[in-house]
């Protein structure tokens, strides 16, 4: 049944005030004192009935007064109805670790047995749910009194390729338990790597957490990493066992064995194994070793040799195609020799809006805004969101970039202020910090930037922005601001040989490359993923997959931390649970507040109190 709870139960002490009218009633109660009177014969007997009526009315008045006070106290205590099941029965969630550290032969049978035991030991009347977890958690059997279904769900479980994440399991289990009394049984090997520093659980105070230890990790040998160094492939072999392990590891190139190498790994240590094979520029590498006692998932590792696809850069000019404002920039970005470093798309304001409408904006690693024609506030808001989500935005001043429009576009997001053009007497450019990624590649040659003559610039407000470079008169030339996951950079002069002679200088191309590369860096598509981060289109298992548009080949590997045999002690595990409990208490408190706020029964309490007072006044007035 429903359980009534109170947000501020201390206010219920105020209900003791209800004793006041009761005491007054008892103290002032008319006990019908005897009055000796000579003319009793003239008194009618009918008033006896009316006396009873009066007593009833007095009791009614008393009840109304008491009710008013109790309702007032109750309203202040902010009542709410807890979940129905919270009052009747609990939920036992058996969370089963399916990370690949439990994939060694026979080990998962032990997991299933412990999970079935947990189901059998669940208190009678409790619902039982089964959750499988590794990198994330999923309910494989919803809360039910059907223990057989729970056992069937356990039998169907198998270890995967994920890594242990206790928080995922606790979050999901708590979500299933909700506000009810509950018990979480984690069947796991208690790997230390299962806790993350940022982990924060939502385990409620009324939830018991019990860990069923599967036991220590077996002697395992795995490939922790595979890298290309100096044209050669190097594999990192990790021995997680207690004894030294020797063996050989094979290298496969595009599916064919290309090399084989021996290794000798001391207990608990890693060794690098370099294959004496010159690697091609493209292709897929796989290294594999034989480990019959350990986990199979970390016995192989993949590496894609293909160069990454060039990041797409959207240049917004006054006209689509090769706009005047984009001419030198586009030429500079294309001037990379054999391998194109950037894929440049030039468009105008209308093209920007259509890209926005078609949801293609996120596909660009950087956007260079060189003209404001056709760019409205909606596009400005979209660009701000784009930066917030990790994109890079460059604003370069110039004839086509209206300062007022730019200020209006980003007034609510970037706090950008361009204070109009000014014409200084030929200033030059100098980096503020040569170690900044834009200028670092220049090294000692950064001084060459000082040869560029700027005849026209705009004044950029420095407030809230980091100045990367200044003009020789001290005003800001290049400012940067981090917004969310991305960044925006403003160049106070143009990149089109109108306000300066920068495009004619040798430093122009590397400057543009480094600037755009810096902006696009956060959007560079990786070529290797962990199973837990596998992109859309790739299976959540180790291997190679083709994903994305344009298509690219990526490698998916298991998380090497899962091979770490270090385990938690029960005390450490319980300590972590307590921390989670404290965090959960705060969340539970917030949830209770929200529930109470949604129900708002205190309003009805006050309303009833007013009705009771009105009724009391009515009955009291009509009583003779």
């Amino acid at each position: 049944m429903f359980g009534l709870a109170f947000l501020y139960p201390a206010f219920l002490i105020g209900a003791l005030a209800a004793a006041v009218p009761v005491l007054l009633h008892l103290l002032k109660r008319e006990v019908a004192p005897p009055v000796r009177f000579p003319a009793v014969r003239f008194l009618t007997r009918s008033p006896v009935e009316q006396t009873r009526r009066k007593r009833l009315r007095e009791l009614l008045l008393l009840a109304l007064r008491v009710a008013a006070l109790v309702l007032l106290a109750g309203a202040f205590a902010r009542p709410y109805l807890a979940d129905r099941l919270a009052a009747s029965g609990g939920v036992t969630v058996v969370a089963v670790d399916t990370s690949f550290s439990l994939s060694s032969p026979g080990r998962f049978d032990r997991v299933r047995a412990l999970a079935r035991e947990a189901v059998d030991e669940a208190p009678a009347g409790d619902l039982v749910a089964i959750v499988s977890f590794s990198d994330d958690a999923a309910a494989v059997s919803d809360p039910s009194a059907d223990r057989t279904a729970a056992r069937r769900a356990i039998d169907a479980l198998a270890p995967g390729f994920g890594a242990t994440r206790y928080r995922a399991a606790l979050d999901r289990a708590q979500e299933i338990i909700g506000g009810r009394r509950g018990r979480i049984v984690l069947v796991t090997d208690l790997q230390r790597t299962g806790w993350r520093a940022e982990a924060e659980g939502i385990v409620g105070e009324d939830v018991d957490v019990v860990a069923r230890d599967v036991g220590g990790l077996p002697s395992n040998l795995g490939v922790a990493d595979l890298v290309r160094e100096a044209g050669r492939a190097t594999a990192v072999i990790r021995n997680g066992g207690a004894g030294a392990r020797q063996g050989h590891v094979r290298l496969y190139l595009n599916g064919r064995e290309a090399a084989r190498a021996d290794f000798d790994a001391a207990p608990g240590s890693s060794v690098d194994v370099t294959f004496d094979v010159e690697l091609p520029a493209a292709g897929v590498l796989r290294v594999a070793l034989d480990d019959p006692t350990g986990f199979a998932a970390d016995d192989a590792r993949y590496l894609v040799l293909d160069p990454p696809a060039p990041p797409a850069v959207l240049v917004v000019a006054a006209r689509a195609g090769q706009g005047d404002e984009a001419f030198y920039v586009q030429r500079a970005l294309d001037a990379t020799g054999d391998a194109r470093r950037f894929r440049v798309v030039t468009t105008d304001g209308a093209g920007l809006l259509s890209a926005l409408d078609e949801g293609r904006l996120g596909g660009y690693a950087a956007i260079l805004l060189l003209a404001t024609r056709g760019v409205d506030r909606r596009a400005g808001a979209a660009l701000a969101r784009y930066v917030q989500d990790g994109g890079g935005l460059l604003l370069a001043a110039g004839e086509a970039l209206d300062a007022e429009i730019v200020v209006g576009l980003f007034s609510g997001s970037l706090s950008l202020r361009l204070d109009g053009r000014r014409t200084p007497s030929a200033v030059t450019l100098a980096p503020v910090d040569a170690r900044h990624p834009v200028f670092r590649p220049f090294g000692a040659l950064a001084g060459n930037l000082g040869q560029v003559r700027f005849s026209r610039v705009v004044a950029v407000t420095e407030e809230g922005w980091q100045v990367i470079a200044r003009f020789s008169d001290g005003t800001a030339a290049l400012v940067e601001r981090r917004v969310g996951a991305g960044r925006a950079i403003v160049f106070a002069s143009d990149l089109n040989y109108e306000w300066n002679d920068f495009p004619l200088h040798p430093a122009f191309v590397p400057f543009v490359h480094e600037l755009v590369g810096y902006l696009a860096g956060r959007r560079r598509e990786p070529s290797a993923y962990l199973v837990s981060d596998a992109p859309a289109g790739a299976a959540r298992e180790p291997g190679v997959a083709t994903v994305g548009d344009p298509p690219r080949t990526v490698a998916v590997n298991v998380d090497p931390r899962e091979s770490d045999p270090t385990r938690l002690t029960p005390e450490e595990f319980e300590g972590a649970i307590r921390r989670l409990t404290r965090a959960a208490a705060r969340r539970a408190d917030a949830a209770v507040h929200q529930t109470e706020s949604e129900q708002s029964y205190w309003r009805y309490g006050l309303m009833l109190m007013l009705i009771a007072l009105a009724a009391e006044g009515l009955v009291g007035k009509r009583f003779p």
């Binding site: 000796r36 008194l43 006896v48 009316q50």
Partner: protein, 302 residues
């Protein structure tokens, strides 16, 4: 500084003041003298009771009644015969039943009645009338025969002072007994709250009247009986029968007042028809109303 002598005299007729005076004799004297003083100054002078043994001769008087001795001294005619002709047997019947012991203020009904009886006795004695006293509840408790002897008044007053509340009332019984016992024409004064069966009371009074007795009925009721001022719900216990009635005053007041008013109206109507003087007395009112009523009846007897 001016002083209102009437107010000062009336103060001595207030029952609450009288109650604080020592003996019954002193009470009676205070009441009567105060009353008479007030009467001298009142518009009732033509009704004078400042009677004397002698009065000036008036044409039509029996010449034999002239006191010649006085004539010899004063050379004026005075009638002497007056004294003998006015002598009357007056019987005061006072109800001392339990209900008469009720009093919402300082004075109970029986105390008020005793003051009234004492005052009447004093006044009668002063008029040289024979005074008798009968105290009764459901039977005659005390009876003093009518007598005009000088020491008799003292006995009457002493008896009144020593009256104690009795049991249930039976007003008609002493009336019948008195009616049977009276040998000659006399006057009977009934002091009672008349809380009895009205028809029976009326029969007794009519019996007395039938025997030629002039009857005055002083119906004593307490202020609380007349107004029913109670407010709290109470158990009203009958002082004579111990019957109980649980009542909320606010609910029963109107009905009660209607009933008690009906009783008073009954006595007023029936006794007027029977030729019996009736006076309702609130025990908080001064006693001069009662005395005046008595004198009015006495005057009719001449």
């Amino acid at each position: 500084m001016s002083r209102n002598p009437e107010a000062a005299d009336a103060r001595f007729l207030d029952p609450a003041v009288i109650a604080r005076i020592g003996t019954m004799e002193l009470k009676a004297r205070t009441i009567v003298e105060g009353f008479l003083t007030g009467l001298h100054r009142s518009p009732f002078k033509g009704f004078s009771v400042e009677f004397a043994e002698y009065r000036p001769y008036m044409p039509g008087d029996d010449p034999s009644t002239i006191d010649w001795k006085v004539y010899a001294r004063t050379d004026r005619y005075y009638v002497k015969k007056f004294e003998e002709e006015t002598t009357l047997d007056c019987h005061v019947l006072i109800d001392i039943s339990a209900s008469m012991s009720y009093g919402s203020g300082v004075v109970t009904k029986v105390a008020y009645g005793s003051y009234l009886a004492a005052s009447l006795a004093y006044l009668m004695n002063r008029q040289h009338d024979a005074v008798g006293l009968i105290a009764f509840d459901d039977r005659i408790v005390t009876r003093l025969p009518a007598s005009a002897r000088p020491g008799h008044l003292h006995a009457v007053l002493l008896t009144l002072e020593q009256l104690a509340p009795g049991a249930r009332s039976n007003v008609s019984k002493p009336l019948h007994q008195l009616a049977e016992a009276l040998a000659r024409r006399s006057m009977a004064v009934l002091i009672s709250d008349l809380i009895d069966e009205p028809e029976e009371v009326l029969k007794g009074l009519k019996h007395l009247r039938f025997r030629g007795t002039d009857v005055i009925v002083f119906h004593l009721l307490d202020t609380a009986e007349l107004t029913f001022p109670f407010s709290r719900m109470s158990r009203f216990v009958d002082m004579e029968s111990d019957d109980e009635v649980m009542a909320v005053p606010g609910l029963v007041r109107d009905d009660y007042l209607r009933r008690i008013g009906g009783l008073i109206e009954f006595y007023q109507r029936e006794l007027r028809v029977a030729g019996i003087d009736y006076l309702l007395l609130d025990t908080s009112t001064p006693l001069d109303f009662a005395l005046l009523s008595y004198l009015s009846t006495r005057a009719k007897r001449g």
